[in-house]
């Protein structure tokens, strides 16, 4: 308990004072533990995802293990190229997953949401509908790359920038809430450990 709080204070010394030896100590201790935890977790992942299936007779899992080991050719100049094969699978999976999610939820889904009319609308609902529709259209125009933002085209892109700022500002404000709550939680623990306020 005490250790963790001393390490926390050491970390905050970087922010509140400057890069101190205490911060270095916290930093390196943290890295060492994380490395160790990562190794242990990786080992457990391998056991449950690869070794156990192999032990049960599913030998197909030898393939990814061999592929993974190919990564370690990296330091050797002549055979370095084989490390590209395991990467090909990783990158392929990542790109595929990213694309498929993007097209459905982020593109078609957004258009659908933008044109969905309010049900049983009040005048305010209509205003809100048109406001977000226009905000969507204008701010998208800001992201046109094959046309310089000049002349008539400057008007929608300018409004679009304002709309983007409105969105980003609200996001900024909202994030402050969570971050302050986190920090105040650490302050609370500090005060408790040092006996300044009682444990409830």
């Amino acid at each position: 308990m005490w250790t963790s709080m001393l390490l926390t204070l050491a970390t905050y010394s970087y922010v509140l004072y400057k890069d101190t030896a205490a911060f270095r100590f916290a930093e390196h201790s943290f890295m060492a533990t994380t490395f160790a935890v990562a190794v242990v977790v990786a080992y457990q992942t391998l056991v449950s995802n690869a070794f156990l299936p192999i032990a049960k007779g599913d030998f197909s899992y030898i393939i990814p293990i061999v592929l993974g080991l190919l990564l370690y050719t990296l330091p050797f100049k002549r055979v370095r190229w084989v490390s590209r094969y395991p990467l090909a699978i990783i990158v392929g999976v990542g790109t595929g997953i990213a694309i498929r999610g993007a097209v459905h939820a982020q593109m078609v889904g957004q258009v659908l949401a933008a044109i969905t009319l309010p049900k049983t609308p009040t005048p305010m609902d209509w205003f809100n509908f048109f406001f977000s529709l226009i905000a969507f259209l204008t701010s998208t125009s800001y992201f046109v790359f094959t046309k310089e933002h000049k002349g008539l085209f400057k008007i929608p892109t300018q409004i679009g920038r304002y709309m983007l700022m409105l969105a980003l500002g609200s996001y900024f404000g909202n994030t402050i809430l969570f971050r302050m709550a986190m920090l105040s939680g650490r302050v609370e623990e500090l005060l408790k450990v040092f006996g300044i306020i009682p444990w409830r």
Binding site: L7, I65, I90, G92, V93, G101, F143, Y162, A167
Partner: protein, 211 residues
């Protein structure tokens, strides 16, 4: 054999195959493909897990270099890092419930993770201090919307004026919607174009520039 395997096209073919599988599975309900792509995803997890060793080699190389060169006010920490890491790993692999590992996990790993996350509390504050200045119309809009949200979130805003939460709520539920939609939308467009470029081998970040 190795000449064919060395070809960039072969690597791109594998990439495309894995990527295509993920996309196909998403749009079409064909059980065989669904099973196959689950297997490939598991492979990717295993390969990524094994890549951790590369990271460890990287860190060992960096820190042993520091130790060898006796880098000022660094090498002693490097010794500490490597020593602590080796001891902890051995213990952790043997028994994760053993006190040293358990203790380090709780009071160093978990505790410092949230400590570092909470650092953002400080930094977001000074970022707000710098960013929220009415330099232009854009910046002013950013401030107004940010402050309205602040006044909505803090109970004190409501106590100052009943209208703040209503305005803040409007910004949150309506005002920011169009902009957010755009950001989501264009990021997706860019990503897909980029993905196609990657799969075609036109992308420098992915073996575009190497032979």
């Amino acid at each position: 054999m190795s000449n064919i395997l060395r070809k960039r096209e072969m690597i791109l073919f594998i990439t495309g195959l894995a990527g295509g599988m993920m996309m196909f599975e998403y749009f079409f309900a064909v059980p065989a493909v669904a099973t196959a792509s689950t297997i490939v995803r598991n492979w990717a997890i295993i390969i990524s897990t094994l890549a951790l060793g590369l990271g460890i080699l990287n860190a060992v190389r960096l820190h042993s270099g520091h130790i060898r060169k006796r880098t000022k006010s660094q090498w002693i920490f490097s010794v500490w890092l490597l020593g602590y890491f080796v001891v902890l790993t051995v213990i952790g692999l043997w028994n994760t419930k053993f006190i040293v590992y358990d203790w380090s996990f709780k009071y160093v790993y978990t505790s410092l993770s949230s400590t570092f996350y909470a650092l953002t509390g400080f930094y977001i504050f000074s970022a707000a201090y710098r960013a929220f200045r009415a330099r232009s119309i854009e910046a002013t809009i950013l401030i107004v919307s940010g402050v309205l949200i602040l006044l909505r979130n803090a109970p004190i805003g409501e106590a100052i004026w009943k209208g703040f939460p209503i305005l803040g709520e409007w910004v949150l539920m309506v005002g920011q919607l169009g902009g957010m939609r755009t950001l989501t939308f264009v990021a997706a467009v860019g990503l897909i174009v980029f993905g196609i470029r990657t799969l075609l081998g036109l992308e420098r970040g992915y073996y575009g520039g190497v032979e």
